[in-house]
């Protein structure tokens, strides 16, 4: 099953804006995705959560767009949109009926060029409250909602910018001023720090003309400060354990490992390994923990890819009532060890490959996903052509590569074990109203509801 090649053009405006256009006329739909090379890793101590708060401010208006009007115009045009913030980057996207593409480009250009013209204390204060409620909804008042923050804190040292979560701290959000917002904007929101991808039912010549017209006069920032050295030792250097009391009925174990950076072939091997370990009912951990030994309610394994020093490989299992937590943990470790001890079978690998292939085929059907990936690969690796090579890279992963990656990563001296246990006395977890099985992997924080 061959996946259709994505053909695109890759150009720059004189001000440095990189823009990528891919025509596809199957559906009357076009995706616009703009990636800014700024994320929570650019935040300094005392200003955590700032990149994400800023993302919300980007929907509060610019010189020719009123507060909330960006979303109103996109929705009235029959489009959808959002923004997301993650450790390495921030992105904004619209999916539009194709005859409304020009509107999306005009809106993105207006805020890239003129955001401070419309900035007000009132709007900043309003979005600060919205973000605090996002933190309450998505982390504090959520099932086992602190795990991601805790894994990041354990896996990255305090001086590393991956140590703190994208959502930041409430105290830091309170301290954010209008000046901070303006400075952040002038520093990072420049055309030479962005990649714009346009994918779908568009004539490339039209799109090019509109990109030049709307973005062409926005000045570059020649002085974007470089990030310091983010490199890290490949392993943690010792096991770290934390017991977390939470108002949850069932205990849950989280395992986190420091992993190779996104883009490293060993990271690809870990992605395929995650599929073999816990990708569905045929996977090793599911069979053993859930189906055969019946000690876990669920099991999940995944990777979070970052480019600055290290990524995260992680998983969790929810412990069934009456089962010793240690037993679930021991089996979990044993299966990870087995991946390092012996090669996966040809049949397991063939099944994993077939599923990865179908997943890729499904994901790349949508213009929004294609625009996102083109902008991602250009932003993170300066190589948008990776969109056409990723599947081959996954399919090229060998049993030996999986074994090598598992040996390097799934080691006791490279792991964090978080054990969530039900609180023993009512009120102990006053600040942590518990919640349940969501099964959600963490995603970048989003601006819109």
């Amino acid at each position: 099953m061959a996946i259709p090649t994505v053909r695109f053009t890759d150009e720059r405006l004189p001000n440095g804006l990189r823009y990528i256009i891919a025509e596809d006329h199957l559906a009357p739909v076009v995706g616009v995705n703009i990636w800014y090379a700024v994320g929570s890793k650019h935040e300094v101590a005392g200003k955590t959560g700032f990149a994400h708060l800023f993302e919300h401010v980007m929907f509060q208006g610019s010189a020719h767009v009123a507060k909330s009007e960006h979303i109103a115009l996109v929705q009235a045009a029959g489009g959808t949109m959002n923004g997301t913030t993650w450790l390495d980057r921030t992105n904004y996207f619209e999916t539009m009926p194709s005859h409304e593409l020009e509107l999306a480009l005009w809106l993105e250009a207006d805020r890239m060029g003129t955001l401070p013209d419309a900035l007000s204390q009132e709007n900043l204060d309003n979005q600060r409250e919205v973000v605090k409620n996002e933190k309450r909804s998505s982390y504090d008042n959520r099932p086992y909602g602190t795990w991601n923050e805790k894994l990041q804190a354990h896996l990255f040292p305090p001086e590393h910018p991956y140590h703190h979560p994208t959502i930041g701290s409430m105290a830091d959000l309170d301290a954010a001023s209008l000046d901070d917002v303006t400075t952040f904007f002038r520093t990072y929101y420049a055309p030479n720090n962005a990649v714009l991808a346009i994918v779908g039912d568009v004539d490339a010549a039209d799109a090019r003309r509109w990109v030049e017209r709307y973005f062409g006069r926005i000045p570059a920032n020649p002085a974007i400060p470089p990030l310091g050295d983010l490199s890290l030792p490949p392993t943690l250097g010792g096991e770290r354990r934390e017991i977390v009391e939470d108002r949850v009925p069932l205990p849950r174990i989280y395992l986190g490992f420091r992993a190779p950076v996104f883009g490293d072939p060993a990271f690809d091997a870990l992605e395929v390994a995650s599929q073999i370990l816990a990708g569905g009912k045929g996977s090793r951990l599911y069979r053993r923990l859930v189906r055969d030994e019946r000690v876990a309610q669920d099991v999940v394994m995944f990777t979070l890819g970052f480019i600055g020093g290290a990524s995260i490989a992680a998983g969790w299992a929810t412990v069934r009532p009456g089962v010793e937590i240690e037993r679930v943990e021991a089996i979990f470790h044993d299966e990870l060890d087995r991946l390092a001890r012996e090669p996966v079978t040809d049949d397991e690998l063939a099944r994993a490959r077939a599923l990865v292939e179908t997943d890729e085929l499904g994901a790349l059907q949508r213009v929004e996903e294609r625009a996102d990936r083109l902008a991602m690969f250009a932003t993170l690796f300066d190589d948008p052509e990776l969109i056409n090579r990723m599947l081959d890279r996954f399919l090229a992963v060998t049993p030996a590569a999986i074994q090598a990656a598992a040996t390097a990563v799934f080691r006791p001296d490279n792991r964090v074990v978080l054990t969530y246990v039900p609180v023993t006395a009512p009120g102990d977890a006053a600040a942590l109203d518990a919640a349940a099985l969501d099964g959600d992997e963490p995603t970048a924080d989003e601006a819109a509801a």
Partner: protein
């Protein structure tokens, strides 16, 4: 400053004509309906088999049997045990799944077109020949019971459960979750699941929907080979009548106390309307204005003006009978009372005055404009056609949708709000820290107040 951008907003180009994919029905020799939906250029095909037995058809004493039966379909069949079945599907790169809801049971697969036939073979085996092995049924039942424990501790799931329990009479299936409650799930055994499944095994009422690039794929021929042998199972039942009565005759505030909760989950509403209702387009536009768009009245007020929440919305869950109408938000504890006040104000304003022209236009344009975006890939196309089958809607329901939305007037929207929103009999259900809200007294301005104190969730 602003000369660096273009001040004038561009005007849209000419919209490219859009037609919902056309589809053709055929019937196999045993009466099973086959719908093929050619969608050129989409090699990843979606296929769904729809059975007409839903959770709504099961006895209250066995609530959850249908949902559990769907989950158990992949646990073993005549030809395969569970592992053999999942491995066979994985070798095809096919993800096979089955699920049940209020109105139907369905099983589906996404697979490259070239492997459609072997994937459908597995799907057919799973739907027609399940064995419901007792040890696996016991495991699935225990997993559901554990899930119910977890639901109790999740503020969102807790409030949704308490809300339907508050607004529907106890003899309505809708007063419980479709997957059942502890007392109804605990006694479920393999035979109960088999009966729940058999209720839908009537080829005359089963539909197969296949969508994607079907060029060179003989869907009818494949279906005839794989499905024409299906026979009616003993225990088939037709559509049952559904009780969907309101429990409340006046306003009630029910507060489920969770000490230390940093937010209050708010649900306000009552039984709504069935999917087959003549004012469906007007209700769609009305609820889009009230709580569907980002700039809906609820979100604009509670989020963008007040900062009370990450998001507020409202909508109708339309089922074969009247599913719930609900307005929802999660707000920080301190603003619980003003947030409820604003939500009620917005609900009341929908009823007491007509919407503005620009609101009407924005909502209609959104629903019409976003329609082609929703159907970019085969999955949603097949899903929506399956929905027509479940609700006995006409084949042109989707192709006429946009014109019907376009025709909705201010008067239609106002009438829909007046007829379909009833604040006098609304349930206001809250999960949060009741003690932190000024002794609870201010909540009584909204109606008689009941505070329930959950025991702490039982420990594992």
């Amino acid at each position: 400053m602003s000369e660096i951008v273009v001040a004038t907003r561009p005007t849209p180009g000419d919209p490219r004509p859009y037609l919902f994919p056309t589809f053709e029905r055929s019937r196999l020799s045993n009466g099973l309906t086959v719908i093929a939906v050619p969608i050129p250029g989409r090699p990843l095909v979606t296929a769904t088999i729809v059975l007409r037995n839903g959770a709504v058809d099961e006895a209250a004493t066995h609530a959850g049997a249908t949902v559990l039966a769907a989950r158990a379909l992949s646990e073993g069949t005549k030809r395969f045990d569970a592992i053999a079945l999942v491995e066979a599907a994985e070798r095809l790169g096919a993800s096979i799944h089955a699920e049940a809801g209020w109105d139907s049971m369905s099983a589906g697969v996404e697979v490259p077109a070239a492997r459609l036939e072997p994937a459908l073979d597995l799907l057919a085996e799973m739907v027609a020949e399940p064995t419901f092995p007792p040890p696996e049924v016991d495991r699935l039942r225990d997993e559901r019971l554990n899930d119910l424990l977890q639901a109790r501790a999740d503020p969102r799931r807790r409030v949704d459960e308490a809300f339907v329990d508050t607004i529907y009479t106890a003899d309505s299936p809708y007063h419980r979750p479709a997957a059942g409650l502890r007392g109804t799930v605990e006694p479920l055994a393999a035979d109960d699941l088999r009966k729940a499944w058999a209720r839908g095994m009537d080829p005359g009422r089963i539909t197969l929907v296949v969508g994607g690039d079907l060029d060179g794929v003989d869907v009818a021929g494949i279906a005839e080979r794989l499905f024409a042998g299906w026979r009616t199972a003993p225990g088939v039942v037709g559509a049952s009548s559904i009780v969907a009565e309101a429990a409340l005759t006046s306003r009630l505030v029910r507060f489920i106390h969770r000490p230390g909760a940093v937010q209050t989950e708010i649900r306000i509403g009552h039984p709504g309307v069935p999917r087959r209702t003549p004012d469906y387009p007007a209700i769609s536009v009305m609820s889009t204005i009230l709580g569907g768009l980002f700039n809906s009245r609820l979100n604009r007020n509670l989020r963008e003006a007040k900062g009370y929440t990450y998001g507020a919305g409202a909508g109708f869950d339309m089922r074969r009978a009247a599913g719930p109408f609900v307005a929802r938000a999660a707000v920080n504890t301190e603003v619980t009372v003003p947030a409820i006040r604003e939500m009620l104000l917005e609900l009341d304003r929908m009823r007491t005055e007509p919407v503005a022209d620009d609101e009407l236009r924005a909502a209609r344009d959104f629903l019409i404009g976003v329609f082609p975006l929703r159907f970019e890939t085969p999955g949603p196309v097949v899903g929506s056609i399956a929905g027509l089958v479940v609700h006995d809607l006409p084949d042109d329901e989707l192709s006429t949708y946009r014109a019907r939305i376009e025709a909705v007037s201010r008067e239609d929207v106002w009438a829909a709000a007046r007829e379909r929103i009833d604040l006098e009999r609304a349930g206001i259900v809250l999960v949060g820290d009741a003690d932190a809200i000024e002794g609870g007294a201010p909540l009584e301005e909204f109606g008689p107040l009941e505070v329930l104190r959950d025991q702490d969730p039982p420990s594992g």
